[in-house]
Subunit: 566 residues, 2 copies
């Protein structure tokens, strides 16, 4: 174990090397104002450092960008440089990057432009699209630290491993095949097991919309970078909410797919080999259709022939068509779509902005003509217990080893303790059975809603909070149950942005209705939360990602329109 001074020096050197990799021309000339001075550094704040053309490019969504870059109208180099510049600014404003490799990205972009010039066609559907990655994915020549000081200059903590500097994760290989440009890796909380993003290398990743608050976690760097439009789309991972929380905290869309759809092969992880609740990869982006673009593009690479845990389930257009016809029917005034809303889970009481966000969604759904029913599922306390037993199953053996490589301390936000009790294999088998029984109960409950919807089908999806609160005050994230039950069930779930916390509205009502009182947590600071993004979660049935993404494109737009019209 290295001494205290050693890990501090290593972390400091690494932190500096990230800043040093930013070209001089893109460095901020003056110190960033404090959060109390300037809470929100998105929009016009960051735009002041960018050209009009850079703003045009970086504020286009992935679908629009790909439409330009795959047809040669925009050069890959120009687009890549714009995002590199904006990502560099984002990092200086909220500390959201672990690795920057802009030179390599621009070299790759040049090759893509040359390919297009020669063949008059794109390499693939993501030709020239910059894609950011959470710092779990291995890229040739680039560190993967996952926030661990002990991983700097090693392969996942192994100093002599020949894969150091040479290995690429399966997703990276596929993204390159698709024509995507890789240019940065985003920050994570060390261990990944936290709803905020903090580590001993780059410190704390702040929320760009309200720098008093967290960007969420564990894909917090993705969330913060995208809130500042330093990335048009990227990939995070989710074992308890790590995609949906930062998506929700940063007014983004983020998909947690069912396990077995996206290739995790060759990516770093915590507690690798834990197979009760699998961490999964999913896309985050400012628009819903960007999630579809990325998800579908990866599936076109047939990842099941390269990752033994991926299921042979290509993108299913038939499900998209079927869902679209339900949407068309609804738009024509004859909706047979039905949704459930879970205003609270019976465990963690929600803050006023979250209660309001769900209410807005409920009103929007009703206005669209959909049937909305309440959601009274099997106990979510059980889901919480199953999730935490899973997280704690190795008693902290894995994280203790990796913190021990450098001697650095664990952040208080990490949900796992280093000296817990390790389960026996028999106890684990009991846990697996209990989890399966809970999944069966939930499945049966979902089926049972066919009797309530009036559509002849069970509900098409459920809406619920992402967390009891909007983007959280540092060190206060704890209740992972709103997202975690989805991981226990292995359902697809998307974060959909809805509104922002507003201290003038989100106050304790003088005469709260009994229904509202039931789920409102009054220990809430309206002033600090002011401006924090409020998202909701939209949950579907296992492996029905095509349906959920298609519905999200429609519902997200309609909700946004309905909320905006208020």
């Amino acid at each position: 174990m290295a001494s205290n001074s050693t890990w501090r020096a290593q972390a400091e050197a690494k932190r500096q090397s990230i800043l040093d990799a930013i070209p001089e021309k893109w460095r901020l000339a003056t110190p960033v104002p404090s959060a109390t001075e300037v809470r929100d550094v998105t929009g016009s704040y960051i735009q002041q450092f960018l050209s009009k053309r850079e703003i045009e490019i970086t504020e286009s969504d992935a679908v629009d960008i790909a439409a330009q870059t795959t047809t040669g109208r925009w050069s890959a180099v120009e687009v890549t440089e714009a995002f590199c510049h904006r990502a560099a600014l984002a990092h200086q404003l909220v500390s959201c990057l672990h690795e920057v490799f802009f030179d390599a990205a621009i070299e790759d972009a040049k090759k893509l432009d040359a390919y297009f010039a020669e063949h008059k066609k794109a390499v693939g559907p993501l030709h020239g699209l910059p894609v950011s990655l959470k710092d779990q994915f291995h890229i040739k020549g680039i560190d993967t630290t996952m926030g661990y000081v002990g991983w700097i200059g090693t392969f996942q903590g192994e100093k002599e491993d020949p894969r150091f500097g040479t290995k690429e994760s399966e997703l990276v290989r596929e993204l390159r095949n698709l024509g995507a440009v890789l240019y940065c890796k985003t920050s994570v909380p060390t261990t990944l097991m936290a709803g905020e993003t903090v580590n001993n290398i780059i410190g704390y990743t702040w929320n760009p919309k309200n720098r008093l608050l967290s960007s969420g976690g564990s894909s917090g760097g993705e969330g913060a970078l995208m809130a500042l439009r330093g990335s048009p789309a990227g990939f995070g991972t989710d074992i308890g909410g790590s995609i949906r929380i930062p998506a929700g905290f940063n007014h983004l869309y983020g998909l947690r797919p069912s396990s077995g759809r996206m290739p995790y092969e060759g990516a770093a992880n915590s507690m690798d080999g834990q197979s009760t609740v699998l961490s999964v990869i999913g896309p985050l982006a400012p628009t819903a259709r960007s999630l579809t673009l990325l998800f579908k593009a990866v599936l076109s690479q047939q990842p099941w022939y390269h990752d033994p845990l991926v299921l042979e389930l290509p993108w299913r257009d038939a499900i998209v068509e079927e869902t679209r016809s339900l949407i068309e029917q609804a738009k024509a005034g004859n909706s047979t779509l039905a949704f459930a809303i879970m205003h609270w889970n019976g465990v963690d009481r929600v803050h006023p902005p979250i209660a309001r966000g769900l209410k807005l969604v409920e009103q929007a759904l009703q206005k669209m003509g959909h049937r909305v029913i309440p959601w009274n599922p099997p106990s979510h306390t059980t889901a919480d217990q199953l999730l935490f037993k899973t997280f704690f199953m190795d008693g902290g053996v894995d994280i203790k080893h990796h913190f021990g490589l450098s001697g650095e301390p664990k952040a208080s936000q990490v949900l796992i303790v280093e000296d817990g009790i390790e389960l026996s294999v028999s106890q684990l088998a009991e846990l697996n059975v209990a989890k399966r029984e809970y999944q069966k109960q939930y499945l049966d409950y979902w089926n049972s809603t066919a009797e309530l919807t009036g559509t002849g089908r069970p509900v098409d999806g459920i809406f619920c909070p992402i967390a009891p609160h909007a983007a959280i005050i540092p060190n206060q994230f704890g209740a992972v149950g709103y997202t975690g039950f989805v991981n226990v069930l292995d359902y697809p779930s998307v974060s959909i942005p809805v509104t922002f916390a507003d201290k003038t509205i989100d106050v304790r009502p003088t005469n709260p209705s009994a229904a509202l009182e039931e789920h409102i947590e009054w220990n809430y600071d309206a002033d600090t939360y002011d401006g924090a993004p409020v998202g909701v979660q939209f949950v579907g049935r296992r492996l029905q990602e095509e349906k959920i993404l298609t519905l999200t494109e429609y519902l997200g737009e309609e909700i946004s329109r309905a909320v905006g019209a208020k």
Copy 2:
């Protein structure tokens, strides 16, 4: 723990109650001759106890029977009675049943006939088809013992469990929906972890084709019953070969699907909650197309809405069509199908009948015009180690508990010891990672054959032994590696019957070629094995059950024709 005399008495009473449930008219009047007198009790031997009409019905395959019963040409009652009679005889000849409930079956058949009379249509695609089930499936009013004396009159060993006598497994519910008639449950080795079928209740399940030998295990009762045509089709389970071994040992077809296709929900099992290598349910039958009938019928019930571990993968006709067009092309003399043959796995040397069986398959494939290449995969020693670490992970805790309920002793054939060392969760995680890495290597190797086939595609399937030997001499089954590697990889695999051991041919050649010597085990008793069925295994890629079943229907027929023509 009950005393020695208690468990013996309980087992004896249960054994007698099975015989007592056979109607007087179907009991054998004279003792069964010894195995040395009459080895083979299939065919004409069992036919002597049956009417011509009973023989016609019971020697039709499931597809032909369903064609008659779903159209009202044959009554469900007549078909059910014929199979009940033949199953009763089979049990008296080789001891292959754990439960008989012929009266309930005939009552169910009467209801099906009444339904057809009233509605002029079938309840479902299996209307009136008798289906046998391995004794892991719960049926209302019927015991499930899985061979354990301590489970008699309980729910999986729990005396006060309200599910006793009331619970039905998900597969049972679906089979009833489909119109199948349930009439018996077949024998298993206690714990299911053995390649022979033996327990303290019904003793040893003998091979009907050669009663000096084993029927295989753990779905040995299914195998023996079907060899005697006491069942047209049934379901077993497979965690290391438990469907394919008894199918191979009894000249049957048997499919081990990938995990996640057939519903295991609500069935009894050993080491429930062990999730490194999952036991899976699959059909066995005398014809390949019967496997397809059952598999497709179960999928039509959308089991993914009732079993949280089933994947939403309906029967995919598109894959069937694609495969059929490859077959048509081959039949027209332009095959682009390519197969690999693994004559031995580098671990367990095979007996002469097995080597000959594979040679016959190779010749048949070549005659059909397909490309045949050798199979030089990643080490199968690794697969063996991964499988046994998985089987042994709980140190025997589970089986010790269940044997302890009655105090009965464990049979020597059971692969697991009762006092082993239990893994820690961290060790299990390492095992899961090692397994995934092996799966990845195998996947890459399979992909790499695209360079060898000349078809532009990797091989379409691989042929290999099911075991080093044909149906085994009691107490000699040990090498589970030929089937077990498939469970580690989670690939679909079918047993295909090929030929029979023949003491006049399967002898040590006077001048063995070097290639033959490499994989032939000379410690082999040609006389005892004479007449034992010889099958081969046909292995496909994960979740490609539709392709494998479609190819099996074609290949099984062609191989049988080619072998018969010799």
